[in-house]
């Protein structure tokens, strides 16, 4: 059950919520920050991506906090996600999802106890 085949029309908050439940039933639990990062951030930020490579361990904790609190909206305002039917990134990723992603990125930043890529 691929998410992309499920979601076909305009992306609204409701659909984003559906996406969450979709993931949830597939995994039998709410998706973790890591899974969300992999699904919603990684595809645009791989090693050879023109948008720059970003895994949790690309930045230090202060930089991630700075990014999520100040720069995320501005830098992703006009970005649409081809992996999710060209939905607007800011609408596709709900505040709750973003919170989890932020926690994952900070917890596994380059200067954290356990730096990580998202796999």
């Amino acid at each position: 059950m691929r998410l992309t085949t499920k979601i076909v029309t305009v992306v609204t908050v409701a659909v984003a919520a559906l996406a969450l439940t979709g993931l949830a039933t597939a995994k039998d639990k709410a998706p973790s920050g890591r899974e969300l990062y992999k699904e919603y951030c990684k595809p645009c930020h791989t090693a050879d991506s023109p948008n720059g490579e970003y895994t949790p361990m690309t930045l230090i904790q202060d930089q991630w906090t700075e990014f999520f609190t100040k720069n995320y909206e501005r830098t992703h305002k006009n970005v649409v996600d081809p992996k999710h039917d060209n939905a607007k990134v800011l609408e596709l990723i709900t505040p709750d999802m973003l919170k989890k992603i932020q926690k994952f990125a900070v917890d596994h930043a380059a200067d954290s106890e356990h730096p990580m890529t998202c796999g």
């Binding site: 050879d48 023109p50 720059g52 690309t58 230090i60 700075e66 200067d111 954290s112």
Partner: protein, 469 residues
Amino acid sequence: MLKRFVLAVGTLALLAMPAAAAKTYSHSKYFEHYEGTKTCLKCHMKEAKEFFHSQHYQWEGAAPQIVNSHGEKLGKRNTINDFCTNPMANWIGLVRNSRGEILTKGCSKCHAGLGKIPTAEMSREQLENIDCLICHASGYRRDLYKAEDGTLEWRPILWKNQVGLDSVSKRISLPKRAMCLRCHSGSGGGPNFKRGDLEYELADTNAQFDVHMGTDGADMQCIDCHAGQDHRVRGRGADLSGTDMPNARLRCDNDDCHGSAPHQAEILNHHTSRVYCTTCHIPDFAKKDATDMVRDWSKPFYHEAADKYSATITMGKDVIPAYAWYNGTTWEQLPKEPVTRLADGSVGMMVPQGSRKDPNARICAFKLHRGKMPVLKGKNWIIPIVVEEFFADGNIDKAVKNAAKDFYGIDDAQYEWIDTTRYMGIFHEVQPAKNALQCLDCHGPNGRLDWKALGYPGDPMLAMLKSSH
């Protein structure tokens, strides 16, 4: 693409700067950008030169405690152990499995250098090879990368993120537990594999786990016990070859620590001249992560999930130590010396010296590590293993033959497998006094001590009771 990246980082740099700059670290004012070790050398040439000569950098040093060292300098470089065997043929390298995933990066992963093999001669290049940050910067992490000229080197994982790197490289302090554990908790190839009593848990633990390092106990740092001077550390345990400070043995009963009569009960103090503190106070070890107890190199083991081969390893958790006499010196199975067997027929790789008759010896706690290693037929020399390629292809015969060629210059070596035993002192994870061994743990039926093996006709307490009747 690279330009794009630099741009992105550039923007970030600008925007992230205020937050990063708001925090000040010990070295915030000492330099602007970290450009590798040379940044530190500007002010710390003296420390770098001292560190260059240390056991931590040279992996070779004076070995007066090894009874058969004949005055030679010894260390990882020129000896063979029953874990990763010898580092020189395995120094650095990216070994990948059939799926292209990285399996190992070489033994220099645990060397406090950036990838170059240490030389005896000091040079600017060698000094710049020292990785100061691994012991002195919190939040630092390194990984293996290919340099422009194709050589491999260890670099901060933040090497492409100057703002992040500048922040981390200014967070300088004397080494904290977590920094020493970056290497010491992962030695032997995995978490707590090698020592058993040096596990990552110690970075942040409680007094129940370790009275000295527990944050609700004495909250001691590794260097509170181990700092020597001029970057020489104190303490070698029972199974290291070369050592930084041979003349300053680190012992629990040193006068500046506990002395030899720390108890109120006279009967306990009476024991300390024959039974070492660790024997009673470390009833078991490997309490969080299991430790490698048996490593059989003769049987390649395939890990399907990781698509990787290793030796066949038997792990143990909550391990009860083995007990043996030890007077501070060790006999080592050295290369180019025919193997010598212990009473059980196995070859003793590291054997503590001392006996009941030796007044300097105490009964100490050990991890007994058993193994199976190749021995050259005819000469009876122990052979190391070129482990790196073996992790990918599982061809142990080739790995042994390549090692015999590399290490001894012998083509197509004929060899057989022998059992080995290594005694490794247990000194960490001292538990609260209430967990110390009680009289009957040793003097009761099924006690921990094998009296005969230790040179007693039988339990000395029973003997005393009998004679007093």
